[in-house]
């Protein structure tokens, strides 16, 4: 287990360095947006991994409510935290890309706003985990995770309608309507690399969660021994 960690971390970092090289140097420059478009190779995979993590969180939480296994709770905690990290990168790189291309940092359009709300929901999930007392944490967190996941499609629907009703600000450009083959190639490799990074994070964080649980029960046992002696 330990050895696997030691090997997988440098391999993943090396893979990411290679894909960054591909994204920054090898991929052709986009015609209308110029070199800024290269943010795309970080931005979109981060979003994909965040979505994947939140989905894993939902499945693990539902599984926990059903079977009550500590492992699925640890997986839910791990994936929510990793998802928040990836979502944060998505939210930071987004405006940095929008500013030079659209001329604005932020627009309240459906996708951006939904991402922001998603991020807020999972931050409150983490806050709940931190402040819930003792053994109740798992159930409370799992219940909230189900609520959060159910909310996402409703948020998207509502904001889409909200924005189609109102005049939309400077839009256009941006999305990949038919990516050039050379770009697609680099993009797919980046997607794979980021997914590997996400899985590595979740896996490490999962192990950490399990270790912390073991530590806690060891503490409890020791205290019990002290009392009985």
């Amino acid at each position: 287990m330990k050895k696997l960690t030691l090997i997988s971390v440098p391999i993943t970092v090396a893979l990411l360095a290679y894909t960054s090289y591909l994204a920054l140097i090898v991929a052709p420059t986009e015609q209308t947006m110029g070199d800024v478009q290269r943010i795309f190779y970080y931005h979109v995979p981060s979003g994909w991994v965040a979505g994947l993590c939140f989905f894993i969180n939902f499945v693990a939480s539902a599984l926990y409510l059903w079977k009550r296994s500590p492992a699925s709770d640890a997986l839910a905690a791990a994936s929510a935290e990793v998802g928040v990290v990836f979502c944060a990168v998505l939210l930071i790189t987004g405006p940095l890309w929008a500013r030079p291309v659209w001329g604005i940092w932020w627009t309240w359009d459906a996708r951006l706003t939904t991402t922001l709300v998603l991020w807020l929901i999972y931050v409150s999930y983490l806050v709940l985990r931190r402040f819930a007392a003792g053994g109740q944490t798992q159930v409370l967190a799992a219940a909230f995770a189900i609520f959060g996941f159910a909310d996402v499609p409703i948020v998207y629907m509502s904001i889409r309608w909200f924005r189609t009703q109102h005049p939309s600000p400077v839009m256009g450009g941006g999305e990949n309507s038919g990516l050039a083959p050379a770009m697609l190639h680099v993009f797919l490799i980046n997607l794979v690399a980021f997914t590997v990074l996400g899985i590595l994070f979740v896996w490490l964080r999962y192990q950490l969660q399990m270790q912390e649980q073991a530590l806690e029960s060891a503490h409890a046992q020791l205290a019990l021994k002290g009392v009985s002696r």
Binding site: V13, V89, R99, P100, L208, L215
Partner: protein, 49 residues
Amino acid sequence: MNPITFLKAAYIVAWVVYLGYLGRILLRMKRVEEEMKELQHNGSHSSRQ
């Protein structure tokens, strides 16, 4: 501002966040392991008394 500045900023932010998070997890894992070892050591020590 030069668009390249934004590109650089985005890449730096992404790397800093990801590597920072990785470092934080590894650090916490190490700490938990050490505490576990200490606990086991103390536990066996005290039970021998």
